[in-house]
């Protein structure tokens, strides 16, 4: 069951979508002038798709994002945990929707443009013993539509010289060694070494869209924005594990509509538990240097290489929000991620993610005293697992139950974090 990932640029006339031999179907991502707006899945039986049928698929797939870009009101994304924003003037909102011309060119005029900005960007790729993935990522960085001030590769607690050798093959890329193990340490080192006013992180198992950097940079024009996260699209869906990761687990994909998380949001959600993990993914995020200067750090007790498989990113965002800064999800800044190919790897990853998530909640509670984190940990998460279990039963065990099981075990293992020395000290 291989699925092919295909990109379609909507500013060009639609053409017939052919059958791809050997694939069960297509995962089609729609872009307009390089801005991702939506996706759909087309099974092989639905192919070839005529331009008219493709138009129907495209129209349905991009409706919400197009509404977000085209209209003042009515299509704004709700923030996680909060209800849909109320309409200030429903009549006016409806009028502007009805008066929109039937033209896609109109959409192009409303898409974000690149304003001139004096901000400089350092790109940081933290890597550990993944030379092939790193080389692929660095190659994509060379194709960016605008150049970064510098590209840093942080080699985290290496066991060999392979990472250094890869970096030597890319002139202009700086190699930085961080012997302390852990993604958090590597990220902090990157911020310390970077000279740009923005530090943009991408994981080594991604490739970036050519406009990625421009889209990130433009969002930092707003002075209150401390963090920009972006969309993570699947680079390939060749195996069941990759398909489950993309379609069932939703760890990375936060949709095609913009979101802004600010101090008011933090205050509104504080007691319920601020769902910072829904801000984005550490695989694609950028941080204003000023946050580092203000003392924000990735907590070295958390993150891959130290405890669990994630959490250092969302815990960092939590700190930003708690200090009154804003985090913005900017889907137009997109990267393509190579998900784990094997089911075994995926189950392990889910386990690690859950451990990291639990640890981050505990740490957030200890550091900021917000009871909402405990509520999430002790009420919401078990409830979510109960619902997942129910859905598993209702679906007649159509989902891979071992993923669920490993996730639940990860939850328990994550609780160990509460007894770690530095946490209690």
């Amino acid at each position: 069951m291989k699925w092919k990932v295909v990109s379609i640029e909507l500013s060009e006339p639609l053409r017939e979508l052919p059958v791809y031999v050997g694939y069960a179907g297509l995962h089609v991502v729609f872009f307009q002038h390089g801005v991702p707006l939506g996706h759909c899945q087309l099974a092989a039986a639905q192919l070839p798709a005529s331009p008219q049928h493709l138009a129907n698929h495209a129209a349905k797939a991009i409706t919400l994002a197009a509404g977000d870009y085209l209209l003042e009101e009515g299509f704004r994304s709700a923030l996680p945990g909060l209800p849909e924003p109320l309409l200030k003037s429903p009549s006016k909102a409806l009028r502007s929707l009805i008066e929109l011309p039937n033209s896609v060119q109109e959409l192009a005029q409303h898409l974000p443009v690149h304003p001139d900005s004096p901000l400089t960007v350092s790109i940081a790729v933290c890597s550990r013993e993944r030379p092939q993935e790193l080389a692929r990522c660095l190659a994509s960085l060379a194709e960016l539509s605008e150049h970064a001030l510098e590209v840093l590769v942080i080699d985290n607690a290496p066991q060999s010289t392979r990472t250094r050798e890869v970096v030597e093959g890319f002139p202009g890329v700086r190699y930085v060694l961080e012997p302390r193990r852990g993604l958090s340490a590597a990220r902090n080192t990157a911020m310390a070494f970077a000279s740009g006013s923005i530090i943009a992180f991408v994981d080594d198992d991604t490739v970036v869209h050519p406009n990625w950097l421009a889209r990130i940079r433009q969002r930092f024009v707003d002075q209150e924005v401390m963090v920009v996260t972006g969309l993570v699209l699947p680079a390939e869906l060749e195996t069941p594990a990759q398909q489950i990761f993309e379609h069932n687990l939703h760890f990375f994909h936060q949709g095609y509509r913009r979101r802004r998380f600010d101090a008011a949001y933090f205050a509104a959600m504080r007691n319920k538990g601020v769902p910072v993990w829904e801000i984005g993914a550490g695989a694609n995020m950028a941080i204003r240097r000023r946050a580092y200067e203000l003392g924000h750090r990735f907590d070295t007790r958390l993150g891959p290489g130290v405890f669990g498989g994630c959490g250092e990113d969302s815990e960092f965002w939590y700190g930003i929000l708690a200090a009154g800064g804003s985090c913005v999800y900017q889907p137009s800044a997109c990267v393509f991620h190579y998900h784990r190919r094997e089911l075994g790897e995926l189950r392990h990853l889910v386990n690690q993610y859950m451990q990291g998530h639990v640890a981050a909640l505990l740490l957030q509670f200890v550091k900021y005293g917000d009871i909402g984190n405990l509520r999430r940990l002790l009420v919401r998460l078990p409830a979510e697992y109960a619902i997942l279990l129910l859905r598993l039963i209702v679906s007649g065990f159509a989902i891979d139950y071992r993923i669920l099981l490993r996730g639940a075990l990860g939850y328990l293992a994550g609780l160990r974090f509460a007894f770690r020395k530095p946490l209690r000290a």
Partner: protein, 407 residues
């Protein structure tokens, strides 16, 4: 179990025009609104209350139709709609049994959109009539063909219609529906870009909401009111049990087929939709077989019809019983004839039972978050259990007797 009498007023709002507040006439307890933009149906909603102001109407329109409106605009912008070109020849068959008034209303709505006319016939299949009323009702409508089918059973009547028809397309309407004025136009547009399709279906809205039973039925979802344009194929990537839940495609009250495809598949299954005691499942079965045979099935929002729901609560409960019965008789048949799909069918039946449970006990998990009256669900589940326990075999035996008696 419903103490309050409910009665909703249905109005149609053209949202391209400036909106006005809606006030229901005396005696109504709620408002139902059909939303249209430039005549194209885009949404439907209902809410209790006697008045809805302009801002509230705008907000409800955005909520229930905003996505559809924008999606339609984008679709047009991408050049999705094309000139309809040549019109297909169409026969419309109305299978009826002892409901001359409803039939006359249906024929009138067809006359309003110019049917019958040159190349497009209207056939009334009078199924096992007990009197002359249907025949005389048809006489008032010039050009409408009257056909007598003595074997009692809806699918006997439908198969008779297939035999009698000669058009490229063959539409089936229930006698208790009326068609919208853009029905024919919608069919032509859908056909223009889907000439390979096996079937076309459309939304079915309430004709009236005059009694509590009708309001309850519609609030629970009715016949499904999606205004999305969909081209179904034999796979739906998001679902592992597709296309067994064939209710997703539409309903037998309003469906159109390419006649050639019906011929090739051997028409409807006489043992389903036999009238009492098994008045259901025939539509689901034909949709399932069409999709499984690899023909696209098209849902077109302009192919809109209005159905007169059961007026009495007792008859609504009986209808839910027959739905459960018919669905499972169809599932039982598919289980037998489509062996490669058995694991999916087993999962679907299990899912269906859990889903019925959720209708009463955990409505929040469901999309429209409406709690069903338990007695309706109980009736549907009871019907389903009887349906699973050999109803299809009993029905085959019954129709054998019907055939023998009449030959």
């Amino acid at each position: 179990m419903w103490n309050r009498k409910e009665r909703y007023h249905i109005s149609s709002v053209e949202i391209g025009q400036p909106l006005a507040a809606i006030v229901v006439p005396e005696g109504y307890t709620g408002i139902a609104v059909v939303l249209r933009l430039n005549d194209r149906p885009v949404g439907f909603f209902m809410q209790p209350g006697e008045r809805i102001g302009v801002d509230e109407l705008a907000a409800a329109t955005l909520k229930h139709a905003g996505k559809q409106i924008l999606s339609d605009k984008l679709y047009t912008g991408f050049g999705g709609a094309i000139e309809a070109g040549r019109s297909p020849s169409l026969d419309v068959a109305i299978c009826t049994h002892g409901r001359p008034d409803a039939l006359a209303r249906c024929l009138k709505s067809l006359a309003a959109i110019g049917l019958p006319c040159e190349g497009n016939r209207v056939l009334v299949i009078d199924n096992a009539p007990q009197d002359e009323r249907t025949a005389s009702a048809v006489k008032d409508h010039p050009g409408v063909h009257y056909i007598l089918e003595p074997k009692p059973g809806l699918d006997f009547a439908r198969n008779r219609a297939i035999l009698e028809s000669s058009g490229e397309l063959l539409a089936f309407l229930d006698d208790d529906v009326v068609v919208d004025h853009c029905w024919l136009e919608g069919l032509r547009e859908a056909w223009a870009i889907n000439r390979d399709a096996g079937a076309f279906t459309g939304p079915i809205l309430p004709f009236e909401l005059e009694t509590t039973a009708q309001v309850v039925f519609e609030r629970m979802g009715g016949f499904g009111k999606s205004f999305e344009r969909v081209r179904f194929s034999n796979t739906l990537p998001e679902s592992s049990t597709y296309p067994i839940g064939a209710g997703l495609f539409g309903a037998g009250a309003n469906m159109v087929f390419r006649r050639e495809v019906l011929d090739r598949l051997g028409g409807f299954d006489d043992a389903l939709d036999t009238g009492a005691p098994l008045p259901g499942g025939g539509d689901l079965d034909i949709f399932y077989r069409i999709v499984r045979a690899g023909y696209p099935l098209i849902r077109e929002p302009k192919l809109l019809a209005y159905h007169q729901h059961r007026r009495e609560y007792g008859r609504l409960r009986h209808q839910m019983w027959t739905w459960g019965l018919g669905t499972m008789a169809y599932v039982n048949k598919s289980w037998r004839q489509d062996a490669s799909y058995r694991p999916a069918i087993r999962r679907w039946v299990w899912w269906w039972l859990c889903y019925q449970f959720s209708k009463v006990f955990v409505p929040n998990l469901r999309r429209n978050r409406v709690r069903w009256p338990w007695d309706l669900v109980a009736a549907e589940v009871a019907g389903a259990i009887v349906g699973l326990c050999g109803e299809y075999d009993r029905s085959i035996a019954r129709i054998e007797r019907v055939r023998r008696n009449l030959i």
